[in-house]
């Protein structure tokens, strides 16, 4: 059974001159052990979609279900990593990591042990008592990651987690995420990553959902069947990136069909 099922979802907002449709007819599934990436041009509603999945917002039409149950309120089995980290400046690293656990009303000792574990897993040892403003961007996002992992979610949702970081930090954090993902002892059964970075999507994900411009719909689901670790300089990797790139730049009108025949990727 699918872990998450997004079924014919649409989202629109009332605007000054009638309704603004952000997305329509979005359908896909997140399976067990799936690393799914959602890519699309700016403003196509990728982040909105992620929020709909967790239940932070409700779709205008269609439905989303988690393990067969419709998502109507915030789903506690999912945890989000935010683009802007969304760390609370008045809480220490340890308190930020404990944030979700307190909401789950875990007993104190259990929270402490869990915080200790995930602080260490994410390489934050020794920074428990630091405040977010004392950390670099990369370290801050580790706290964001630790906070999400600590609640042991079934699905980890990541909203552009690397785009506020510099290129080098982002690259090393991506690799560490992959190592984490490869560890069966660690929680998420599936990851949904929203990004506008095509290379990042192909480097990390098993499947890439490509979305069109607004009002957006799913252009295509690209399967990335490259063995990990993936060599970004390989022809196969390049061919995939190029395919997704052309999908985004060419496809996009509201009624455009799923995929027009693509010109064969140029050889490097």
């Amino acid at each position: 059974m699918a872990l998450i099922r997004v079924d014919d979802v649409g989202k629109s907002f009332p605007g000054r001159h009638g309704t603004i449709t952000i997305m329509q007819e979005i359908s896909f599934e997140v399976k067990d052990a799936d690393f799914l990436a959602i890519v699309g041009p700016s403003g196509c509603g990728k982040s909105t979609l992620l929020r709909l999945i967790q239940g932070l917002d409700r779709p205008t039409s269609g439905s989303i279900s988690f393990r067969g149950t419709p998502v109507t309120t915030v789903c506690p089995q999912m945890a989000m990593v935010f683009q802007s980290f969304a760390l609370y400046p008045w809480l220490t690293v340890a308190q930020n990591v404990a944030f979700g656990l307190e909401a789950l009303e875990w007993p104190k000792e259990k929270i402490d042990a869990q915080v200790e574990r995930y602080v260490s897993v994410t390489g934050l040892d020794g920074f428990q008592e630091a405040y977010p403003r004392e950390l670099s961007g990369g370290m801050r996002q580790r706290v964001g990651l630790a906070r999400a992992l600590a609640v042991e979610p079934a699905v980890l949702l990541m909203d552009e987690p690397f785009s506020a970081l510099d290129a080098l930090t982002a690259e090393s954090l991506r690799e560490e995420i992959l190592q984490l993902w490869g560890d069966p002892a660690l929680p998420p059964e599936a990851v949904v990553l929203v990004t506008h970075n095509i290379e990042e999507a192909i480097q990390l994900a098993d499947r890439v959902i490509v979305m069109s411009r607004r009002p957006s719909h799913v252009l295509e689901e690209v399967v990335v069947d490259l063995p990990r670790p993936r060599d970004r300089k390989s022809d196969a990797f390049y061919a995939l990136t190029d395919r997704v790139y052309s999908l985004i730049t060419e496809g996009g009108g509201p009624t455009a069909g799923p995929a027009e025949p693509k010109p064969s990727p140029p050889q490097v």
Partner: protein, 587 residues
């Protein structure tokens, strides 16, 4: 598997201890020296004697303690009120539509004018316990000077809480008490601490008045009445002893409470500013239930009634003075102010007509002397407005250079700022008797009134401008330097435009302070010999309060004053504020 420990990531700074006191010795010396120097100057200049002063110190300590208790009670009430009111207004759309405009009005009307009414109310409320009524009244009056800006602090910090922080707390399922403790309350701490300092400053200012006013009905021991009696009986030693103790308490509070708290509260500021892809932001929904709409109508109604009076007048003014050529900016602004003046006069006449007819209907004829005074009201209001304008210009001329100097010179900031802070929080009202006593022979009653107004206005302007200079984005300054802008050009092209929003906010609050100070600055009895009385709306309110059968005068004067404040807010400050927000904001 573990992530590699902090390989590429670096730590900006190790966490320090929670509270730091940079060079405590120097600061203590500074704070100790300040009241001592001040009192020495006072002794020498005014001819007090050290022995005499020492004799009154115990009494002064007792009275300051009593006043401090009142301040603390009022502050506790303000804090609770601010959290409840601000939280509710920020989280309930329906409430917000009514509560915020109400607060807007409450904040801008001169509360001092309502003192007499409040005193009657509280004294009548508790006739059985004779000391309770006056005390409740004075605590309430201090409360009115503390609460509003704290409410705004809570409301604004909750409204400006970054969306992702709210979202993260939803995403992790925080609810109720935990949500309040972990997210909402901490979000307000920074502003609350900052605004608390302002509230205490305002509180001391009002405390003196609250106790003096209250003592008209029944004696209320406290530093306010102490100073007032000392001044009115011409007892200089007693007066100086009170000033010294009060200055010490204020300096201690600043040093032991507000400065450490201020440093601590820094942590609660959210300054992570990620640069990201612009996602579609959901437009604010304008739909809502019946109640929400009803609430919107009420507030709109209030606003419409103001503009109903003003809009035709503005149009009339612009028709009659429409020139053949396109008016220059200067001409336009002159017409605008003329129109504003015309509107004010009409509003004043309306207020007077309404009050007089209401009193005629319900309480019978008004005595001829009071009627005569009421007819003077437009003139009085005009005089007060002019007085405030003059005081404001003087304030600006002093506060602007001072703020630039203090903000931009590290030495001026280190040494000057603590002094200015203590001086600013010392209640100038306590010195008013002395101003009347000593200075009228030199500067005349008009000068004394303007000087007193100054003390009630200047700090609002100064601290807003100071914050403005400090928050000027460093890259703007750097850019100016890299393009080789000269000093004069830097001031003209960078500093002044950058300061404009702070100037507008500071002006609004300074005028607010000014309207309040009018009540005491235009009419002051010190003992039986020295009386200050200059034609103005504050004077009329006081006369109406003091004179038998003067109630219609007091009410008419109050209405005139409130209407003036509202019209000026609506037609002068708000448009300017919007312009500042649109054109001069940098983010």
């Amino acid at each position: 598997m573990r992530l590699a420990a902090a390989g590429g990531a670096s730590v900006a700074e190790r966490p320090g201890p929670a509270l730091e006191f940079p060079s405590p010795a120097r600061t203590i010396a500074l704070y100790a020296a300040l009241p001592l120097v001040a009192s020495a100057v006072g002794l020498l200049a005014l001819g007090g004697t050290a022995v005499g002063v020492a004799r009154f110190l115990p009494l002064a300590v007792v009275d300051v303690s009593l006043s401090f208790l009142r301040m603390t009670a009022a502050y506790a009430a303000s804090l609770g009120f601010a959290l409840a009111y601000g939280y509710y207004a920020a989280t309930h759309r329906t409430g917000e539509r009514v509560m915020i405009p109400i607060l807007d009005v409450l904040q801008s009307v001169p509360i001092l004018g309502f003192f007499p009414v409040a005193i009657y109310f509280f004294v009548d409320l508790t006739p059985a316990v004779h000391w309770l009524g006056p005390n409740l009244a004075s605590v309430f009056l201090i409360f009115t000077s503390m609460a509003w800006n704290m409410v705004f602090g809570v409301y604004e910090s909750l409204k400006t809480l970054p969306a992702e922080l709210k979202e993260a707390s939803d995403a992790f399922g925080l609810k109720g008490g935990l949500r309040f403790r972990r997210v909402l309350f901490p979000a307000t701490v920074n502003r609350l601490v900052y605004n608390s300092v302002l509230s205490w400053t305002g509180g001391w200012f009002f405390l003196v008045e609250a106790e003096i006013f209250t003592t008209n009905t029944s004696p209320l021991a406290g530093i306010g009445s102490y100073l007032s009696f000392a001044a009115s009986t011409g007892n200089l030693d007693k007066f100086l002893a009170g000033v010294i103790v009060l200055a010490i308490v204020i300096a201690l509070l600043d040093f032991l409470l507000w400065r450490p708290l201020g440093r601590y509260a820094e942590r609660f500021r959210y300054d992570t500013s990620p640069s990201g892809e612009g996602e579609v932001v959901a437009p604010v929904r304008e739909t809502g239930g019946r109640f929400r709409r009803a609430a919107a109508y009420v507030t709109r109604g209030v606003r419409t009634s103001v503009s109903l009076i003003s809009t035709p007048l503005v149009q009339l003014a612009s028709i009659t003075v429409r020139p053949v050529r396109k008016p220059t900016e200067f001409q336009r602004s002159v017409f605008y102010y003329l129109a504003l003046g015309a509107i004010l006069v009409v509003v004043w006449l309306m207020m007077i007509a309404i009050t007089v007819s209401v009193f005629r209907i319900f309480t019978g004829p008004i005595s001829s002397s009071v009627r005569h005074q009421i007819l003077l009201l437009p003139l009085a209001m005009g005089a007060s407005t002019a007085r405030i304008a003059v005081a404001y210009l003087i304030c600006l001329a002093v506060a602007l250079p001072l703020a630039i100097l203090v903000a931009r010179g590290p030495r001026a900031s280190r040494v000057g700022l603590p002094i200015i802070e203590v001086v600013a929080s010392f209640p100038a009202t306590a010195l008013f008797p002395v101003i009347v006593f000593e200075l009228i022979p030199y500067i005349g009653p008009e000068g004394a009134a303007i000087l007193m107004l100054l003390t009630g206005m200047i700090w609002y302007l100064f601290f807003n401008l100071l914050a403005g200079v400090r928050s000027l984005a460093p890259d703007l300054e750097e850019a100016a330097r890299s393009f080789g802008l000269g000093r004069r050009q830097f001031f003209r092209r960078v500093l002044f435009p950058g300061l404009f929003p702070a100037l507008v906010t500071g002006s609004i609050t300074a005028f607010g302070g000014g309207w309040n100070t009018l009540i005491v600055a235009e009419y002051l009895n010190v003992g039986s010999v020295h009386t200050l009385s200059v034609l103005g709306i504050g004077q009329q309110i006081d006369i109406g309060y003091a004179e038998a059968g003067g109630l219609p005068l007091m009410v008419a004067a109050l209405f005139t004053l409130v209407a003036t404040v509202l019209v000026i807010n609506e037609l002068l400050w708000k448009p300017m504020y919007r312009r500042a927000a649109e054109r001069f904001r940098y983010d």
